[in-house]
């Protein structure tokens, strides 16, 4: 065995550094990702607010927000079911955790479909990234950017929920992985609770 091997072996056998904030590295990584994502979403919302405030003829096209209300209800319900899944995983209830995660993923899929339906409604009224029938062209770009970014997160989160649930059931993942996906899912739900008032409720038709 070479001297280099002996040196490396001695190095790896030494004491490991304590994890920062006494938490798992992957959990800390998710929190750092969420912090970065908060900044991205905050930049989107700030840009939207800037445009809306600086534009006197900003459109107020939403006559009914029934679809958005249903989407919000689905999202809040999925936050609760995700939490129940995490709680079940912590107590070792594997079947319960899997079942509640699949329910959460189904809610995520339903939310995605409702979101696409909302977009199709807007498109059928002539709203695109470059124009709309009501006023400033920036409205379409701002609307699709901010809601699209949220939709991207939710659809990716839905896929992640399915994957983690299946791998957890198969024994490859444990309760820590469910905690991490729970963090992400609660975060995307929270973002939606900001988008609803800023994009929809403050632009209801009078």
């Amino acid at each position: 065995m070479s001297e280099a091997h002996l040196t490396m072996g001695a190095h790896t056998a030494g004491p490991m550094e304590a994890p920062p904030f006494a938490m798992l590295s992957k959990k800390l990584a998710m929190w750092l990702f969420i912090m970065a994502d908060v900044m991205t979403f905050a930049a989107c919302v700030a840009a939207y607010a800037f445009l809306r405030n600086a534009t006197p003829d900003w459109p107020r096209p939403f006559h009914s927000v029934t679809n958005v209300a249903i989407m919000t209800l689905v999202m809040i319900a999925s936050s609760a079911t995700m939490l129940v899944a995490f709680s079940a995983a912590k107590t070792g209830d594997k079947a319960g955790a899997f079942r509640w995660m699949m329910i959460t993923a189904a809610a995520g899929a339903l939310f995605t479909l409702l979101h696409i339906r909302d977009w199709m409604g807007m498109m059928s009224q002539g709203v695109s990234m470059l124009q709309n029938p009501w006023g400033t062209a920036a409205f379409g770009a701002a609307f699709y950017s901010i809601t699209g970014f949220s939709l991207l997160h939710i659809s990716v989160g839905t896929v992640a929920l399915f994957v983690v649930a299946i791998r957890y059931q198969g024994g490859r993942y444990n309760a820590d992985d469910i905690e991490i996906v729970n963090l992400f899912w609660q975060f995307v739900g929270l973002v939606w609770l900001f988008i609803v008032p800023v994009v929809y409720l403050m632009n209801l038709a009078r």
Partner: protein, 104 residues
């Protein structure tokens, strides 16, 4: 198992109910004849309450180490506060558009 699941659902029921009530209030306010900054302040106040509930209870930040909580909260507040530099320019643009002046 059904009892254990029942108790878990009860545990977070209060937070879930609070989120539902706050969101319902936001929809109710949206349909009132409130305009401009007072509407924005009310909507954002409820959104901030939502955030506190979700971050503390659903994301379990309240159960993490105090140092980590400080790190997250201070860093986020700093970033969100510094983003508010946009408002002066936004009002400047609005003024130009309303009065017909163009920025030189």
């Amino acid at each position: 198992m059904a009892t254990a699941e029942g108790s878990r659902i009860k545990k977070y029921g209060a937070v879930y109910l609070a989120l539902l009530v706050i969101t319902a209030l936001q929809f109710f306010i949206g349909y009132q004849n409130i305009e401009g900054s007072s509407l924005a302040v009310r909507m954002l106040t409820f959104a901030v309450i939502d955030t506190i509930l979700v971050v503390l209870f659903l994301m379990n930040l309240g159960f993490e180490k105090r140092l980590f909580v400080k790190f997250i909260v201070l860093f986020m507040l700093f970033v969100l506060a510094t983003m508010n530099y946009i408002w002066t320019d936004s009002f400047r643009l609005l003024l130009f558009r309303l009065t017909g002046f163009s920025p030189s």
